[in-house]
Amino acid sequence: MQRFSFISLARNALTGHQGWREQWRSPEPKPSYDVVIVGGGGHGLATAYYLAKEHGVTNVAVLEKGWLGGGNTGRNTTIIRSNYLWDESAALYEHALKLWEGLSQDLNYNVMYSPRGVMMLAHTVHDVQVFKRHVHSNRLNGIDNEWLSPQEAKAFCPPLNVAANIRYPVLGAALQRRGGTARHDAVAWGYARGADARGVDIIQNCEVTGIRRDRNGAVEAVETTRGLIGAKKVGVVAAGHTSVVMGMAGVRMPLESYPLQALVSEPVKPVFPCVVMSNTVHAYISQSDKGELVIGAGTDAYVSYSQTGGLHIAAHTLDAICELFPMFRRMRMLRNWGGIVDVTPDRSPIIGKTPVPGLYVNCGWGTGGFKATPGSGNVFAATIARDDPHPIAAPFTLDRFRTGRLIDEAAAAAVAH
């Protein structure tokens, strides 16, 4: 691997930047692997990276039907936070946040993690009570989260409108200062480069079309558009398409796939210092380093794989943005798009083993998977390598829908769904 350092940058600057090589190989698939990861987004690539780095499992392939990070990894609004209510979720997302803090150094790749603070607005008495409960719960779990009055929120984010006469006035806010954003493409590329350097084969334009099982029911190979690839273990990390891929192995999933939209504005000078989220009025906004406002909208009402989404959903979000931040009322939006998110009944992810021996699944991240990328890959890699759930992943089994031990973040967090 060609490492990035001040010296390598200076040397290449002096030689006209002709010395840079490809960051990862594009190998032909081998006849078989110890582990095949289905899905080359952030979570899948992170899984491969930690398999190689922490567990010495290097005979691994990541199969991606399109290009790396072309799915939800490249379509989300890059918000990172760990202020979840329940102990199980808090442990999982905090594990990820701790990895974010050292990720650029670990990968030797700048993922532009920017802990600029994530502020969640409360607009109703119910919001205030729920967010204060979150603040207390987070503090008990050692996670930073603090309550701000409307004036303190305005001081932290000056563009915010805290007038009392708007439709949903700001009654306060919960602020996680360690929350923030990172550059989504760099996350996929950094993990791909790190995994490749440790021997992982990253195979793009390779769609899985079937999962083959042996006489005992265990997985033995995946059928792909680039031929049959043998596999002792298969990890499915296919986000919105998880139901489709798991169906190939005959496993029904408690998932529904919905389009989730985001949009960006024309780029402007730095005007917005933090990330602001409002679950009640459906507005999620930050400013990218390029200067665009990055705005997250809601999901469509119905199951779909269309990767678009209704215009009225995006318009609804812009209504809220314009009321909360009147200075953006005349901004023009540059483009919008949709990604397909897989939502579980309890709005918590599924990480772990399946009824099929050798088949593992990491899915159900719903509308908020990006923030978990490093932690998700880390605990899923451990689960695959040891064939035993990582302690942090243990509560997030597929089996919880049979036992009834759900991790009900939806009702608890009043998140927008």
């Binding site: 398409h241 139901s243 489709v244 029904r252 999933m253 408690p254 998932l255 529904e256 796939s257 009402a301 119905y302 199951v303 779909s304 794989y305 269309s306 209704g310 215009l311 009225h312 009944p345 829908f401 049979r402 036992t403 009834g404």
Partner: protein, 106 residues
């Protein structure tokens, strides 16, 4: 925004309706006889197909009645709608009829 044909009121914009999940998931006849596996399947497991989906909608800002809808989940085209309580339709026949009406393939 979808244009949805309510079987009772006719074609209306999507924001008059509420989506109500996968159709034809019948409540078990004898709930006390079910094991955990069967309960999980009834409560949580969904077909979530990339293709033709049978789903329930409710015309909340109209007749307020539930009905069923046949929709392709990639194009979002609605192939047919029918009253609640009718048996599961023959999807292949509905798609053929949809194409015969001169519409593009779903």
């Amino acid at each position: 925004m979808l244009l949805i044909t309510c079987p009772h009121c006719g074609s209306r914009p999507e924001n008059e309706f509420r989506y109500a999940g996968e159709a034809h998931i019948a409540r078990p006849e004898n709930p006390s006889a079910l094991d955990d596996e069967a309960w999980a399947d009834f409560l949580y497991m969904r077909s979530n197909p990339k293709g033709v989906h049978l789903e329930r909608w409710r015309h909340t800002h109209g007749c307020a009645r539930f009905f069923n809808c046949v929709r392709h989940t990639v194009s979002d085209r609605i192939i047919a709608t029918y009253e609640a309580g009718r048996p599961k339709p023959d999807i292949a026949a509905l798609v053929a009829e949809f194409e015969a009406r001169g519409a593009r393939a779903p």
